[in-house]
């Protein structure tokens, strides 16, 4: 009883290269690895704030203008947009909305959410910078 797991884990043991078996698995793994860029960008931003808090504002701004950080951030932006697109598509696949006799398709959720992303982005810029 003591050695028993607290709840059953029904996870299949996979080989490290299972995701190379087909394109769908490979794209899934690419999507999962985009999270590394999301996390690293967040950590770089916190590091920038630490430079400012312990030094000067110029150090924070210099970090943002550093070519390596700019290059990394542009790659991170591409991966973040990929994350956003796949996330929106998944939302449509997981929770389709029934309207009358038809049900919404994942690509409709993708387009709707991309439009929403543009609106939210503009609102964010307006609220935190332009206002």
């Amino acid at each position: 009883m003591e050695n028993k797991k607290r709840y059953p884990e029904l996870r299949r043991r996979l080989s490290p290269g299972w995701w190379t078996a087909n394109r769908h698995y490979a794209m899934y793994m690419v999507r999962e690895w985009t999270s590394l860029f999301v996390a690293l960008y967040s950590l770089i931003f916190i590091y920038g704030l630490s430079l400012w808090a312990t030094g000067s504002r110029a150090e924070f701004l210099n970090l943002l203008k550093n070519p390596a950080v700019v290059g990394f951030s542009i790659v991170a932006l591409v991966f973040t947009m990929y994350h956003a697109a796949t996330w929106f598509y998944l939302l449509g696949a997981i929770s389709p909305v029934k309207i009358g006799r038809s049900t919404t398709k994942p690509w409709q959720a993708l387009i709707l959410n991309l439009i929403l992303l543009l609106i939210v982005s503009y609102l964010a810029v307006w609220l935190v910078v332009l206002r």
Binding site: Y7, S35, Y41, S42, L49, K65, V70, L127
Partner: protein, 136 residues
């Protein structure tokens, strides 16, 4: 025993719930933050570049996000904290799928430590830097 199973299952549900919330934040708010800090500011583009011929227009930089007003600091906190949680949680989960399943507990410990330390430091720096937030 049954009670403990419920507690673990509930904790899992909460952690995955926060992960989903972080995914929404990373999808909706992170792109615009990266655009502002990594493209607009270094290359002098909208909203940080002043329009041509407008000498009296205020020129702002990304530090305005932190110290401009309370909403900016809140935006930075929600976006960075949510994205950090989502990114680390997902990456640690992805590592277990590429042959590191036996290190799951260790990866979780490292992952949650980074998330916890990152969010605490982020909140601390924002409190120190933003004058409209309560002083420490």
């Amino acid at each position: 025993m049954k009670m403990e199973t419920h507690k673990v299952a509930r904790l899992h549900a909460i952690l995955w719930g926060i992960f989903s919330l972080g995914g929404m934040i990373a999808a909706f708010l992170l792109p615009v933050l990266i655009y502002m800090t990594a493209i607009a500011y270094p290359f002098g583009l909208w909203p940080f570049g002043s329009p041509s011929g407008c000498l009296s227009c205020p020129t702002r930089d990304p530090s305005f996000l932190v110290i401009g007003h309370l909403l900016g600091a809140l935006f930075v906190f929600v976006t960075i904290a949510g994205s950090l949680y989502h990114g680390i949680f997902r990456f640690q989960s992805a590592l277990t799928e590429v042959g590191l399943l036996r290190l799951k507990r260790g990866l979780e410990a490292v992952g949650y430590s980074i998330i916890f330390a990152g969010i605490i430091l982020l909140a601390y720096y924002l409190l120190v830097l933003n004058p409209s937030l309560p002083a420490l």
